[in-house]
């Protein structure tokens, strides 16, 4: 998994590439924790993510909870297979998915 972070004013964009699974989720969680403190808005770009496991969902949920006290979290470019997982778990109704 590759994680690219870009900061523009108070918005942090985290572009993820690869699989977000049990092995790679802690890395994403760490990367988000390190940067969320300085960001008012968080955008997670899933364009190059082809799989997300429950561990990945928990990381996104944690980020959603942290950012809901600030400017919020937005998920962008989620593939249909990822959207399917968001939908059947109930995540699609609480996450801001663009």
């Amino acid at each position: 998994m590759t994680i690219n972070k870009t900061k523009k004013e108070d918005q942090l964009t985290v572009a993820v590439e690869g699989r977000i699974d049990t092995v790679t989720s802690p890395e994403l969680e760490g990367a988000l924790k390190d940067s969320m403190g300085d960001a008012e808005k968080l955008v997670i770009d899933l364009k190059d993510v082809d799989y997300i496991s429950s561990a990945g969902l928990r990381v996104l949920l944690g980020a959603h909870k942290t950012m809901s006290r600030k400017g919020g979290l937005k998920i962008i470019n989620a593939a249909d297979s990822i959207m399917e997982i968001f939908e059947v778990t109930g995540f699609s109704d609480i996450l801001d998915i663009g």
Partner: protein, 364 residues
């Protein structure tokens, strides 16, 4: 050069270090006590600001450490009753110099309204945790409510250094406003306390299954999901399909969706669980069996109940699309989800027709 300014230059880095330590310690203590102020800020006075103060009040500041606000912190609380909570926290974590601290809330005569804030003069404790040279540097913490802060900032913005410089009529206007804001502060605390009582009553009524007439709002819906036996057992049935854990989240985004489906009270929601139970569970089984998913959100019950109502109910394409429009701005995504739901409707209808035919065949 003034000896006190030489001392300031020598100690500037110590003040910086002390400021960082106090800021972190204060933030951690607030977090641990679940006090969430609107703002915690600090600044170290600039050299020119210290110099100006020394010139203005040469007698008062014979020693640099007599100037207790070189390091100044400010905690702005949402509610006025949090001011005392923060003060208690300071007393527990720092050494408070009560003699030089000022409670300006009590300093006003009972017949007056005006600047009201709590100013504590503190030092780091001599407990071996911090360098001794930092524990002798005083710092000031101003604690006030957001409304007290607004009043003080506006007064300051108008350029008045003290009440004596303010024209009489304007001073009277400021006093009237201070009185108004004091009442507003009390009302906000009242609202906060009423909410605590309300949430407690809601929980009790749900636990006793006497909450059918309660209107759905953020608190009733959240409590219903957590406390109602009906909803809890339904969620657990879904979770058992894939052995998932439930992550509790704020269900507020569902309120307009339930409203759209004409579900406005907890009684109507309970009825929804009864009427849509089988359909919703079928949908959940289709989606979650052998999915490998072991995390679901606490709104998953609402998700499948709403889908079931839309699929099995008599909802037109337009009404289904409008349901999705409540939370999705992208037209393309709304269309995709509408089409998907209608496809699901076709497949469950075909399955039901086939099952009916099979039964007929078996019967004949």
């Amino acid at each position: 050069m003034d000896q006190r300014l030489i001392e300031y230059d020598e100690k500037h880095s110590d003040y910086d270090r002390m400021g960082e330590i106090v800021y972190e310690k204060l933030k951690d203590a607030l977090h641990d006590e679940h006090i969430h102020p609107m703002q915690v800020t600090y600044r170290i006075k600039t050299r020119s600001s210290v110099e100006n103060k020394l010139i203005r009040k040469p007698e008062k500041y014979q020693k640099l450490t007599n100037m207790t606000d070189i390091a100044g912190f400010r905690v702005i609380c949402y509610f006025s009753d949090q001011v005392d909570q923060v003060a208690r926290l300071l007393e527990e974590n720092f050494v408070v110099d009560k003699v030089n601290s000022v409670d300006k809330r009590n300093a006003l005569p009972t017949t007056s309204f005006g600047y009201s804030s709590l100013h504590y003069i503190c030092t780091l404790p001599h407990n071996g945790e911090y360098p001794e040279k930092l524990c002798v540097l005083p710092f000031e913490v101003q604690i006030r409510s957001v409304l007290q802060h607004a009043w003080a900032e506006i007064e300051h913005d108008l350029g008045y250094k003290s009440a004596f410089g303010v024209p009489r009529d304007i001073r009277r206007e400021f006093s009237r406003l201070a009185g108004l804001l004091e009442i507003a502060d009390d009302l906000f605390v009242g609202i906060k306390n009423e909410l605590v009582v309300y949430k407690d009553q809601v929980r009790k009524r749900i636990a006793e299954d006497k909450a059918d007439d309660l209107t759905i709002d953020r608190h009733t819906l959240s409590a219903y999901i957590k406390e109602s036996g009906t909803m809890q057992s339904f969620i657990m049935e879904i979770a058992d399909i894939c052995g998932a854990e439930i992550q509790y989240i704020d269900p507020e985004p569902y309120i307009p969706k339930l409203d759209y489906l004409d579900i406005h009270t907890l009684g109507e929601l309970k009825e929804l669980v009864y009427t849509e139970h089988d359909g919703a569970l079928d949908l959940a089984m289709d989606a979650l069996t052998d999915s490998g998913i072991d995390t679901l959100t606490s709104v998953v019950g609402l998700y499948y109940l709403c889908r079931s109502k839309l699929i099995y109910g008599d909802y037109s394409r337009e009404r289904i699309a409008n349901f999705f429009h409540i939370s999705i701005s992208s037209e393309e995504r709304v269309m995709r989800r509408t089409n998907k739901l209608l496809e699901k409707r076709e497949s469950v209808r075909a399955r039901a027709e086939k099952a009916a035919e099979d039964m007929k065949d078996t019967g004949t």
